[in-house]
C-alpha cells in the first residue's frame, strides 16, 4: 500500500514539473515529452535516476523520463557486454517492449475505433 502511495507522490511531482513548464514557458506538450525523454537519458547515463526508481517504483518508471532512463541503462548494459556495437543495439533493445506495444496497440486501436465528432 505504501508503495502505491509513493508511486502516486513521485509520479504526481514529475507531472507537476511538466505542467509548470507548459504554463510558465508555453512550450508545447510534444516538446515537453521530448525534453522529458532526453532528460531521462541524461539522468540514466549518470545513474541519477535509479534512486528515484528504488523509492517510487512506477512513479518513476511510468513517466517518460523513465523511458529515457531505460534507453540509457540498456545502452550501458550492451556496451559492457558487446562493446562498440552495443551503442546501436542497447537502447532500443531495452525499450523494445514499450515501443512495440505502442506501435501494435496504437495501430489496432486506431483501426477499430472512430474519432469523436467534434462539436
Amino acid at each position: 500500500m505504501i508503495d502505491i502511495l509513493k508511486a502516486f507522490l513521485l509520479g504526481g511531482c514529475i507531472c507537476i514539473i511538466g505542467q509548470l513548464l507548459i504554463d510558465l514557458t508555453k512550450i508545447t506538450p510534444a516538446r515537453i515529452m521530448v525534453i522529458f525523454v532526453v532528460s531521462g537519458v541524461v539522468l540514466g547515463i549518470f545513474g541519477l535516476y535509479q534512486p528515484l526508481i528504488e523509492w517510487g517504483g512506477a512513479g518513476a518508471t511510468v513517466p517518460l523520463v523513465g523511458f529515457g532512463n531505460t534507453l540509457a541503462k540498456g545502452v550501458i548494459k550492451e556496451v559492457d557486454k558487446v562493446g562498440l556495437l552495443g551503442i546501436f543495439t542497447g537502447g532500443v533493445k531495452a525499450a523494445a517492449a514499450g515501443i512495440t506495444a505502442a506501435v501494435t496497440f496504437g495501430y489496432i486501436m486506431a483501426i477499430i475505433s472512430k474519432p469523436k465528432i467534434k462539436s
Binding site: D3, I4, A7, F8, L10, G11, G12, I14, C15, I16, G18, Q19, L20, I22, D23, P29, A30, I32, M33, V34, F36, V37, V41, V42, I45, G56, A58, G59, T61, V62, P63, L64, V65, F67, G68, L71, A72, V75, I76, V79, D80, G86, I87, F88, G90, G91, V92, A95, A97, G98, A101, A102, V103, G106, Y107, M109, A110, I111, S113, P115
Partner: protein
C-alpha cells in the same frame, strides 16, 4: 469614442489575467492525474511481482500494459477527456505516449492506411523516439569512450 487597444496591450492584459489561479488549478490537476496513472502502474507491477517474475520482466510487462491502457482509453474517446483535465499529468506518463500515437492515427484515418494512419501515428511519438534513441546513442558513445580512457 471607444479606446483602441493595440494587439500588444491586449496580450499584456490576457497575460495578467491568465496566470495565478489557473496555474494552481493546472498543477493540482496534473499532480492528481499523473499520480493516479502511476499508481495504476504500481498496482500492475505489484501483481506481477507476486507472480514471481524477475525485475526486468515486471518492468517490460508493466509498460506493455500501461501502453495498452492508454491506447484503449484513447480509442474509446476517454483519454482525451483525461488530458483536458490533467494536462501534463496525462501526457507525461507512458499512457500519454500511446495516446499521442492513437489520437492522430484515428483522426487521419480518412487520408488512408499508409500515409494517414501509418504516417500520422508518429506525429508526436516520432520526435520522442528520434530524440530518445539518438541521445541514447550519444550517451552510449560517451560511455564507450569513457570506458576506454579510464
Amino acid at each position: 469614442m471607444k479606446k483602441q487597444i493595440s494587439k500588444h496591450e491586449y496580450q499584456k492584459m490576457v497575460d495578467k489575467k491568465a496566470p495565478g489561479s489557473h496555474i494552481v488549478r493546472n498543477l493540482f490537476a496534473a499532480f492528481i492525474t499523473g499520480g493516479a496513472i502511476c499508481s495504476v502502474g504500481q498496482i500492475v507491477m505489484l501483481v506481477f511481482k507476486n507472480f514471481g517474475a524477475d525485475k526486468e520482466t515486471v518492468a517490460s510487462v508493466t509498460s506493455i500494459i500501461m501502453v495498452f491502457i492508454g491506447a484503449f482509453l484513447t480509442g474509446i474517446n476517454i483519454y482525451d477527456e483525461i488530458g483536458k483535465f490533467g494536462g501534463a499529468g496525462a501526457s507525461i506518463p507512458i499512457t500519454g505516449f500511446s495516446n499521442s500515437i492513437v489520437s492522430p492515427a484515428m483522426e487521419f484515418k480518412k487520408e488512408g492506411y499508409v500515409m494517414g494512419v501509418g504516417a500520422k501515428m508518429f506525429l508526436i511519438a516520432g520526435p520522442v523516439l528520434v530524440y530518445g534513441i539518438f541521445s541514447s546513442v550519444v550517451a552510449g558513445l560517451l560511455y564507450f569512450i569513457w570506458k576506454q580512457v579510464m
